[in-house]
Symmetry: C2
Subunit: 221 residues, 2 copies
Amino acid sequence: MAPKCRPRYEVSKQPSSPDTVQDYKDARWATLVKTTYIDPDSTTRTWESAERLTRPAGSLIDGVGIVAILQHPSDPSAPPSILLQKQFRPPIDAVTIEVPAGLIDAGETAEQCALRELKEETGYVGTVVGEGFGVSPVMFNDPGFCNTNLHMVHVTVDLSKPENQNPKPELEDNEFIECFSVPLTDLYAACRRFEKEGFAIDARVGTFAEGIEVAKRWKLV
Amino acid sequence: MAPKCRPRYEVSKQPSSPDTVQDYKDARWATLVKTTYIDPDSTTRTWESAERLTRPAGSLIDGVGIVAILQHPSDPSAPPSILLQKQFRPPIDAVTIEVPAGLIDAGETAEQCALRELKEETGYVGTVVGEGFGVSPVMFNDPGFCNTNLHMVHVTVDLSKPENQNPKPELEDNEFIECFSVPLTDLYAACRRFEKEGFAIDARVGTFAEGIEVAKRWKLV
C-alpha cells in the first residue's frame, strides 16, 4: 500500500555548517525585521523576528501544507491513510517527517497550489475536500518568532483512478523526497517511532497526530 | 466556565513598523544562518534559515507548548475543554489564538517548564499526563525555514482543587494575555469563528484542531 515515489533518500554524511552567520545583504530567501509597537500600558517596545522573502506580492500566505488522504473505494474496509514525506531539512540538519507542502506562486489559489505541489512532489492527482473543510484558516507556524504561515489543504487521493496507478513525481534538482503513508489512526504512534529512529517531526504533522490521539482518548466522535 | 485570567487585551491601534530591516549586529533574540550541505547527487548547496538566540546551551529545544485540559471531576458530564490564550504577536501584527507556551530555562525539563509557564501565564496548577502521552516528540515549527522547536506537554487541570479556584497569573511587564477555554470537540469550529473575528490562528492549535476534526469525520475512535 505504501506509495512508491522515489528511491530511499540518503542523507549525506558530510557535515553541514549551520553556524555560518549570514551577512544580511547576501540573503535572498530570509530576513530579520524589527517591529515597534505600543503595548496596552502605552509602553513602546520592539520585537525581533524572521520573515521569508519569497511571499508573492498580494498573497496573504507563504504556502500550503497538504493533508492527503489515500482512499481505496474498492476496499472500504481499508483504513484511511495519510500521505507523508521524508525530506532532509538543512535548517535542522535532519530528515523530517512532514506533509507534502510548498510555497505559493503569484496569482495561485491555495487549492491550486496544493494540487500542483501534490502532483510535483508525490505524483498523485488529488481532489480538494468539500463541505468547508478543504482549506484551513491561515495558520502561523511560530508567531512569536516569525511571520511564516500557510493554509492546510485537505485532499483525497482515489487510488483506483488510472492516473494514480503509477505516480511519478516531478521533483526539482534540489528536491529529494521519499513518500510513504500511515493509517490515520496510527499516526501518533508512528511519530513516536520515527523520532526513535532519528527522524525529526514537523509540528504540523505532530500536533495533527496529537489531535487524533486526543479525540480517541476522550472519545470525541 | 471560562477562566478569568486578565482583563480583555486591547490591541494598540498605533501602527507597528514591521519593515524596519534589522542590522544583524544589533540582533539579540534572532539570527540568520547559512547552512552548506551536500545533496545525494553530490552537489554542494546552501540554505538560508533563521534561529532563536535564546536556546540554553545543552538544551535540544527552544520551549514548550501546553495542551491543558480543564477537568471538572464533580461534573463528569462536562465536556473536556482546552485552555487557550489571546496574545498580541508583533511578528504578525495580530492577536493570536494559541496554547500557553514559553521558552525553556537552562537546566529545566520540559515538564517543569510547562507547569511553570502554565502557572505564570494562566494561574492554574496542572498535572502532566502519564501513560507516555505527557511530553510529545520534539516538534519543529517550520523546518524548511527555521530551527525553532518545542515539546507539546499535555497537562490536566483539576478545577475542583483549592489552588485552581481563583487562578492568578504572574505575567511579565511585557506580557498581555487573555485566557479562555473551548470544548475540545468544538475546537475546529472555534478556530474558524476566531479567524472570521480577525484573530490569527497558531498552527499548533489549528492542526491539533484539524486532527480532532479528522478523527470525528473518519470515526477513528
